[in-house]
């Protein structure tokens, strides 16, 4: 009998900006290995919800927990250490650093060679560096084998889709339990975004089988294709929940997206 308690739980998450209720009492649950789609019109509170879960904004009410451990009120770096990793809607890679360096930033918390090793015991640092490069190559080649060969190129010289891949790799580098993907296909052509979804599905086939994902996405084809369950938000409130078929029949959602 598998463990039925969900991996990640939110209860009554609430965030007000002045008089605006950006997120208004949202409950959600993600079980291990599941992909939850988060949809809703612009301004529905999807990104705010991510910012709450990753600790960027403090909560006004409610709480959330991972594997039963309460993470409410922790700062972002601690939440990341507990196993919740995220990407951003706008690319936040550092353009003048190399592909490796950007990826290493996601791996920093796992490194042990700091001041002593960098200043005096370079051979120890070198060992860790070599391991890090190996791991980086492995991660990158899961998405695009060519990307691994571009490790020392500055990010400004790689393509848009490779940058997105790199951001996802960076979020995956420390093997999180829960990955928050904020519109991974934003600004990409339909071909590119479906390519990215193929990538995502492929990496979940082997190493990241246990990985749970919350995916914010506007492309309904992607949502239909990849998610197990969907939650629809409008004005910060949950208006529908279920499989994509169920949610897409919801009148309120149709209204929110298409107008009356």
């Amino acid at each position: 009998m598998p463990d039925r308690t969900p991996l990640f739980c939110c209860e009554k998450l609430t965030k007000n900006f002045g008089g605006l209720k950006a997120v208004d009492g949202v409950d959600l649950q993600v079980s291990e290995g599941a992909i939850l789609g988060l949809i809703g019109p612009n301004g529905a509170g999807k990104t705010t919800l991510f910012n709450l879960i990753s600790g960027v904004y403090p909560l006004d009410a409610g709480g959330f927990s991972l594997r039963g451990e309460n993470l409410t009120g922790l700062p972002p770096h601690k939440i990341k250490k507990k196993g919740i990793s995220r990407t951003f809607q706008q690319s936040r890679l550092i353009l003048n650093l190399s592909v490796y360096d950007n990826l290493f930033i996601g791996m920093l918390e796992g490194f042990h060679s700091w001041f002593g090793d960098s200043l005096l015991f370079r051979s120890r640092f070198k060992k860790e560096l070599k391991k890090a490069i190996e791991k980086a190559n492995q991660l990158l080649s899961q998405f695009n084998p060519e990307l691994a060969g571009k490790g020392f190129l500055p990010v400004s010289e790689i393509s848009q889709i490779d940058r997105r891949r790199l951001e996802i790799c960076r979020a995956l580098a420390t093997k999180p339990a829960l990955l928050l993907l904020d519109e991974p296909s934003a600004g990409m052509s339909p071909e590119e975004s479906s390519e990215l979804m193929v990538d995502l599905r492929r990496i979940r086939e082997d190493e990241y089988r246990q990985l749970s994902i919350i995916l914010v996405e506007h492309d309904m084809a992607v949502i239909e294709d990849i998610t197990d369950r969907v939650i629809a938000l409008n004005y910060g409130k949950k208006i529908a929940e279920g499989t994509f078929e169920e949610v897409s029949q919801n009148e309120e959602l149709k209204e929110a997206y298409l107008g009356r």
């Binding site: 550092i94 700091w114 190129l153």
Partner: protein, 401 residues
Amino acid sequence: MSSHTLKELLLVVCCLVISWALFIAVLLITNLFLVFAVILVAGLVIYGFSRWERGKASIVQAFQRQSRFAQVSMIVIFLCLPFILRSSPYWILILTLAILWIIVALGINIQFGSAGIINLGAAAFYGVGAYTAGMFATRLGTPPLLNLLLGAVMSTIVGSLLFIPLLKTKSHYLALVTIAFVMAFHNLLNNAEWLGGAQGIVGIPLMSVAGYSFTQEIKIWGLKLPSQANFYYLALLLGGLLGAASWRLWNSWVGLTWNSINEGTGDELSAKCMGVTAGRWSMIAFTIGNFYIGLAGAFYSHMTTFISPPDITFYQSLLFLSAVILGGVDSIPGVCLAAVLLVILPEKLRAFQQYWVMFFGIILVLMLILRRKGLIPARIRSYMRGIRPTSESLKTPGGPR
């Protein structure tokens, strides 16, 4: 040794000889027209090379592959400089000052270049180091080497005290606080009697190490070096150590972490979401930078034997900071080069002293328009020799030689 390696070695030697010959020529020639001519020739040569892609690439590659040889040659040249300049002690002293500027600029580069913390009060931290050394030396008679350390430590302590209330805010506020600090500190020094007031501290003993006085001439192989060479060699040693430390930190996770919280290129928010404790790391960068700056200040007071408020101004802070901007943000070689130029050029152009500030402003603006990444732009971090495949081995299968 293959003929290819020989060619590369020759290329490295040629580059070094030409650049150092030009540099020494600029120092020793007193005729201003000739100086301008040499600077112009140097500028044209460098510009020509930067345009000639193939030549540039082959030089860069030669230096990369023969980097150990290039490093050793550079060290030898630095060690030999006092011998070449032994008839003009003045320039040995100026070069020593240039090394102190390099140390300051390296410190600011850690703060501003790597971690993105704008420190507009570097002169104040320099002053804290200098005054601490001066006070300890004149009041308590502590040995100069210890004073160097005390000056550096005091500067880090003062810096940390300034930083603590700012941990929770954005770095721009720190910039404002550092401006306020340098101005307040300048006024404090002018008015505090126990710190010597406007006179400053005079009669600070000259540097000495374990009883060896730095007023002695150095005699090696029948050659006599002026006493100023003592300061040069000690500064070179300190600068070398601090420079190497700086380089190693840059080429490590520490430098990378600093880059990740740099608001100019990266951003703090995403770094935090990647698990970086941003506040702590900016504090570390600020502290280490102030250590560098304070140490240089303490050395300065033991070299010139006096320190006074006019050396510690907002303007001086801007000059220090501009070494980083001119040289290339986060680029250690660039920052060193710019620091040297900022010391040598005003000395050389003494005849036009009153125009220097204007001249300097024009250079800075031109640089920001034409070459925003600085004289030597920061390179991609390759951490250690042999980690990054060379461009050649990438093209031809078979891996690096």
